[in-house]
Each structure stands twice: as C-alpha cells, then as structure tokens.
C-alpha cells in the first residue's frame, strides 16, 4: 500500500476545509466533495492518497458538526464508511476474518470512482466546447423543405362497379313488406257527422244516407257503416234518435226523436 507510509494524521490545512464548509450546499453529494478534496492533494488522481483523503473528509465533517451545520445523511454514511476504511488500512489484515473486505481493494475502488467522475467532467467540458449548432455553426436559415405531394389514387374495377350496382338493385328487390293499415272510419267521425246531419232526418232515413260521400266505395264502406251504426246506437241510448229494422239483415232506419 503506497498510501500508508506518508499518510499523516489530520493536517493543519483545516483552514482550507473551513472555506469549503461555506460551500457545503455547493457540493453534489459526498463523491463530489471527495473529488474536490482529492484535487487539493495536487497529484494525479491515480496517485491520490486515500488515507489522506479519508482524513480530510472526516475533518471536514467534524468541522461541519462543530458549526452545527445540517449534514445530509449520505455525507454521514460516507464518513462512517471512510472511518472504517481508514482503520482497515492502518491495521494489519485480520487473518481470522476471511470475509472482511480487502481494504486495498476498497481504496482502489474509491480512487477509481474519483478518477472516473473527474474523467467524465473533463469529457463533458470537451464535449460542450465543440462547435455546436446554433452557437458556433449554423444551419440553413431558409430551408426549402421537400414537399411531399401525397396523392391518393382510388382503386375501383369495373367488377366493383357492377357488383355495387347489382347490390343496390338486389337491396331494392328486398324492400321490407309494409302492411298498409286499412283506412278506418273512426266512431268519433261518425258521431260528429251524425250530429251535424241529423237535422235532416225528421223522417225515417236509412243509415246509408249518413255515410260520407268518399266512404261509399266497397273497400271503405264496411268501416264507415260499422262506425255509423255504432254511433247511432250511442245516440239512441241517449234518446236522441230512434232506430228501426223491419226484418233480420234488413235496412236500418233512423230518425230524430221528437223533442
């Protein structure tokens, strides 16, 4: 472990740590803070002293505690982890504990993370410094966009046409059967008509005579006859008319009852 020998205990550069403290909100988490601390070693990150880094970090957290600054939990978790790592790096490996993680490996892992983060930051800077569209280079301002003239060609064959026509004709042949309701001469109509025309029937008059003109054809006369007959019965009941029939199925006659 190259770090161990020159690792000195909490350095006197706490002044620098304190200046960082003012900035605690400026760090994006413990790794960001660790990277900043590691850079203070002013060495290539590949040779960073993890032991020294752990000390700086712990000192930083202690100072923050003294100032009663609120420290996010992940900073404390990292502090505990670094304290453990530090003790493991300083103590000789315990041969009885085979499960204990290799401290050197842990340190190597942390160093790698720091290097990787720094590498990504450097890459980001290089990327952002490239000639960028809209900042350094510009696209055509007045493009002449390709106009796609979409046309729909409708497809229909003569057979489609003939089938369609045949379909229309077939449909016509199967038009639903409408059963026409026969015309009915309503009894109300018969009553009204009798009421109006009764004045003319001071003498016996056949029922037929009271049928409306347009209801006398054979197809309609039955309905008109039935309604007029029913209406006359109604009037007879009320004592308005008298009815007589000389023989079964004979002519029915009616006359206004004398007042």
């Amino acid at each position: 472990m190259p770090d161990a020998p020159e690792a000195d205990t909490p350095q006197t550069d706490t002044a620098e740590s304190n200046s960082l403290l003012l900035d605690i909100d400026g760090f994006e988490g413990p790794l960001d803070l660790l990277l900043t601390l590691a850079r203070q070693q002013k060495v290539d990150l590949r040779h960073v002293s993890i032991l020294q880094l752990a000390d700086h970090y712990l000192a930083f957290i202690d100072a923050a505690r003294d100032l009663q600054l609120e420290i996010a939990a992940d900073y404390l978790v990292t502090a505990a982890w670094l304290a453990y790592l530090k003790s493991r790096l300083l103590l000789p490996p315990d041969p009885t504990d085979e499960d204990a993680p290799d401290a050197e490996e842990m340190a190597r892992r942390l160093a790698f993370q720091l290097q990787r983060l720094e590498a990504m930051r450097a890459a980001a800077t290089r990327l952002m410094a490239r000639d960028r569209v809209g900042r350094d280079v510009f696209v055509r301002g007045a493009p002449d966009p390709i106009t796609v003239n979409r046309q729909t060609e409708w497809r229909a064959t003569l057979l489609d046409l003939l089938q369609a026509y045949a379909r229309c004709k077939t449909k016509a042949a199967y038009t639903p059967l409408h059963v026409e309701r026969p015309k009915i001469y309503a009894m109300e109509d018969a009553l009204r008509r009798l009421g109006v025309t009764l004045g003319t029937a001071l003498d016996w008059t056949t029922l037929q005579a009271f049928l409306p003109e347009d209801w006398r054809e054979p197809r309609l006369v039955r309905s008109a006859m039935a309604s007029t007959f029913a209406a006359s019965l109604e009037l007879a009941r009320d004592g308005i008319v008298s009815l007589r029939q000389s023989e079964p199925f004979g002519t029915i006659e009616l006359r206004k009852t004398a007042p």
């Binding site: 390709i146 409708w154 064959t157 004709k169 042949a173």
Partner: protein, 214 residues
C-alpha cells in the same frame, strides 16, 4: 476568436469577406441587404463587391444567389425544383358507398341526389359526391326542370377511361349482370334499367326517360 480580433485592425481580404457574406446568407431566415451584412462585418468591408463575386461563384451551381426586393438570398436552382418535390401516391380502395353511388350515376345518368338516395335506400353524403367529383369521374349535368331544379350528375370521359368503357352503353344490363351471377334477386318490377343511357341526354329532355324510372 483570433479572426475577429485581427479584423479590428485591417479589413479582411475579399476572400474572407466572401466567406462571411456566404455564411450570413446561408444561415439567414430571410433575404439580407448588402448594407445589413456590411454592418455586421468588420470595418472596411465591402459587401456589395463580394456579393458580385459570390454571385459569379454560384453561377450554374445547384444553388443560386438571387436578388429579391433589393436584398440577397440563396435559392435552389430553378431547374432542380423537382428534387425537392416528391409525389407519393397511395392507392386506396374506393369505399362501398362511393362505388355504389358511382354505379347508380353510371346506370341512371343524369340522376339527382334524391334519386340516388332512392335507389340506395340510404342518404348519400356530400363527401361521397365531392370525392367522385374530385376524382373527375362524375360531373354536374343539367339541372332537372322540376320543382327546385335539382342538379343532376353524369359520368365523365375520365370515368370511361378508368373502367375501359367506350361509352356508358357498354355497361352490362341487369339481365347480363344476372347471367354473370352478379345479381341474384329479381329486380323490382317497374324499375327499369336502361341498358344504354343516351350519350347526349343532357341536351334533350332527360326527364322523360327518367319519368318511369323514379
């Protein structure tokens, strides 16, 4: 940007100025005047002069430097416009409503919308007729000399072309449709189909022929 700084002292070369004008015109959303460009260029530049150089440089190329309303702009060479247009033709099957409507117009022309609806038994949408008119398969015929003077529809030359017909007389009659197995049921009595719509029905009294049809 060292270019920019050095230009503070001596005017850029004509080549440099030409590059600047070229870049400005390329990236501008609208035509630029020589004055407007010169204002942005280092002092001592002469935009008008390099515009003439640039115009010559683009002569005969795929892009031309042109003057519009006293300003300058790059435009695609006019003979290459075809590269920027593309025709995309999609073939779509004509809807059932459209084919039926078309067939009724073909067989009964000239025919009014109301008459088409009577044959189809359903309303004919404006869109269907518009589509057929748009395709130039049907056109408006003479107005019917009946109340409301409704317009009639007739088929066009384009229609005959598309369906490979010499005339509408070539449309098979109902008996032929039946013989071809296209028509199963008996046509409704009294609804005669004219085997051959007359060619010039628009000119003579079409109503007479139609009278017994509708």
């Amino acid at each position: 940007m060292s270019t920019e700084e050095s230009l503070q002292f001596a005017p850029p070369t004509l080549d440099e100025q030409e590059r600047m004008v070229e870049a400005m015109l390329f990236s501008s959303t609208e035509p630029l005047s020589a004055e407007a460009m010169e204002k942005r260029m280092p002092t001592g530049s002469n935009a008008a002069e390099v515009l003439r150089r640039l115009e010559r440089h683009y002569e005969g190329r795929g892009v031309a430097l042109i003057r519009v309303a006293g300003k300058w702009a790059f435009r695609t060479a006019s003979d290459l416009g075809f590269l920027l247009r593309s025709e995309e033709t999609a073939t779509k099957k004509l809807s059932r409503a459209a084919v039926e409507t078309l067939s009724i117009i073909a067989y009964h022309q000239p025919v009014t919308r109301a008459e088409i609806e009577e044959v189809r038994g359903v309303a004919v949408s404006r869109g269907t007729l518009d589509l057929l008119l748009d395709m130039e398969w049907i056109r408006l015929g003479r107005r019917r000399e009946s109340p409301g003077r409704p317009v009639t529809f007739v088929t066009t030359e384009g229609f005959l072309d598309h369906f490979g017909l010499d005339s509408t007389r070539d449309l098979p009659g109902l008996d032929e449709l039946k013989a071809a197995g296209l028509l199963d049921a008996q046509p409704k009595g009294g609804f005669a189909v004219r085997d051959a719509p007359e060619e010039d029905e628009d000119d003579d009294t079409p109503e007479d022929d139609q009278a017994d049809l509708f």
